[in-house]
């Protein structure tokens, strides 16, 4: 009896697993991208509703105290703080980059770009893919590869697009990479996404050592991100004269669990 049950469940397991593998292979084909994007947009309205219910629950619980007021105040102050931190980093960056160099590189500040504000309606289902789902898609001019920012700086990149929604791969995703320079020392390096602090691998330059508190700002090297976007501040540095690279940890300016609105840069195409 138990043997029959086992063989039935094994048969069902093998059948379903095979069907899902076929689905994976088919849905990865370039010709299926449109259908896949449409399918992924199907849940977007429900997710937006869930987010809205979550906000309502938050508001309802505030009846037991001034939690909502304090939270709103805290958010406002956090927002102001992030804005000030971003401005400070930009001033540091401005001091580092001389005007002629910027003109030569035809450098444009983020604020000069065409943008679209999007609401975060969902988050990635597991810790391996730190992604966000937003409520703007191809119908709103959003395309794969576009840069996503917030008031606190760089958030990530649009990875997949449906008609009315898109999936954004954040910098916290372990698969994310971004080339940056440090605002004080000018050292260049690569940010690698991570579940806690972002890891930074820095070039080893004689006479220059990264220091705590420096700002990591996108360098534009590689063409993946525009130059000048704030990523975060350095919280620890590991330096060895014998090593070929230095490593550091960067405190990301954004908290993906707290992001509710993001800005999609519509007119930057990664090279």
């Amino acid at each position: 009896m138990q043997g029959r049950a086992r063989s039935r469940s094994t048969g069902r397991f093998l059948t379903l697993a095979a069907a899902m593998l076929v689905l994976a292979v088919l849905s990865q084909q370039p010709w299926a991208a449109g259908a896949r994007g449409t399918a992924k947009s199907v849940l977007a309205p429900l997710e937006a509703q869930m987010m809205s219910i979550a906000s309502s629950v938050d508001r309802a619980t505030a009846i037991f105290g001034d939690i909502a007021t304090l939270r709103a105040e805290n958010q406002r102050l956090n927002g102001e703080n992030q804005d000030l931190r971003r401005r400070l980093a930009e001033l540091d960056a401005a001091a580092y980059d001389n005007k002629e160099l910027r003109q030569a590189l035809d450098f444009q500040r983020t604020f000069g770009h065409r943008t679209s504000v999007a609401e975060v309606i969902g988050r990635g289902p597991d810790a391996f893919s730190r992604t966000l789902q937003i409520d703007r898609g191809s119908a709103d001019g959003v395309g794969a590869g576009m840069i996503v920012v917030s008031g606190a700086g760089l958030v990530g990149r649009v990875r997949e697009v449906g008609p009315h929604g898109a999936i954004v791969q954040t910098l916290a995703d372990p698969q994310s990479r971004a080339n940056v320079f440090l605002s004080g020392s000018g050292l260049q390096g690569t940010i690698i996404g991570g579940p806690t602090a972002l890891q930074l691998q820095l070039e080893h330059r004689v006479g220059s050592v990264a220091s705590k508190g420096e700002w990591a700002i996108t360098s534009g090297v590689g063409g993946g991100y525009p130059r000048g976007l704030v990523v975060g501040d350095v919280v620890s540095v590991t330096h060895s004269d014998a090593a070929t690279i230095d490593s550091a940890f960067v405190d990301w300016g954004n908290d993906p669990a707290a992001l509710s609105l993001v800005i999609v840069v519509l007119d930057f195409s990664p090279s």
């Binding site: 049950a5 469940s9 069902r12 849940l43 997710e47 987010m51 289902p125 391996f128 999936i167």
Partner: protein, 166 residues
């Protein structure tokens, strides 16, 4: 009726997963509500039901993840299959076994996701990051499993889902 109730349960679990679950982050991991519900369903209703709902829940997660449709479904199927095997051969009443089953299923789930990303030539996390996230998630899920079992038993009783033969 049974099918609709089960589908609704998985839909709610998936929506909770992609909207609220990240608020429960501890040590860089947050619980996978769908995985926990699938393992709890497998434990209480048997492997065949667990496989079916694992497949459905996996597709719902795939709809919210980057990449092709299917990898999360395969990962959940593996977890449900192992849990079904476990439940058939060990003491179903012990609270430690379901916790162990969900921990093992979490490890399998992570391995399948990483392997499928590799096969599909998608970028994968570093080994150290993957190990750290997987172990933390396994412990987290094991701690939540007793509560999940109570909740699923309540929900399935209210929805008139009868426990399946082992």
């Amino acid at each position: 009726m049974k099918f609709v109730a089960g589908a609704l349960l998985m839909l709610v679990a998936a929506l909770v997963q992609v909207t609220w679950a990240s608020q429960l982050e501890i040590a860089a991991v947050f619980p996978n509500v769908v995985l926990i519900v699938v393992i709890a369903l497998t434990w209480t209703q048997g492997a065949r039901a667990g496989l079916l709902w694992g497949c459905a829940g996996g597709i719902l997660l795939d709809l919210n993840a980057p990449g092709p449709l299917g990898p999360h479904a395969v990962a959940l199927l593996c977890g449900a299959y192992v849990t079904g095997f476990w439940a058939r051969n060990l003491d179903r009443e012990s609270p430690l076994h379901p916790a162990g089953a969900v921990a093992v299923s979490t490890v399998l789930y992570s391995l399948v996701l990483i392997a499928s990303d590799r096969v599909l030539r998608l970028p994968i996390p570093t080994f150290a990051t993957a190990v750290q996230l997987t172990l933390a998630a396994a412990l987290y899920h094991a701690a939540l499993m007793p509560l999940a079992l109570i909740a699923v038993r309540h929900a399935t009783a209210g929805l008139h889902l009868e426990p399946a033969a082992p």
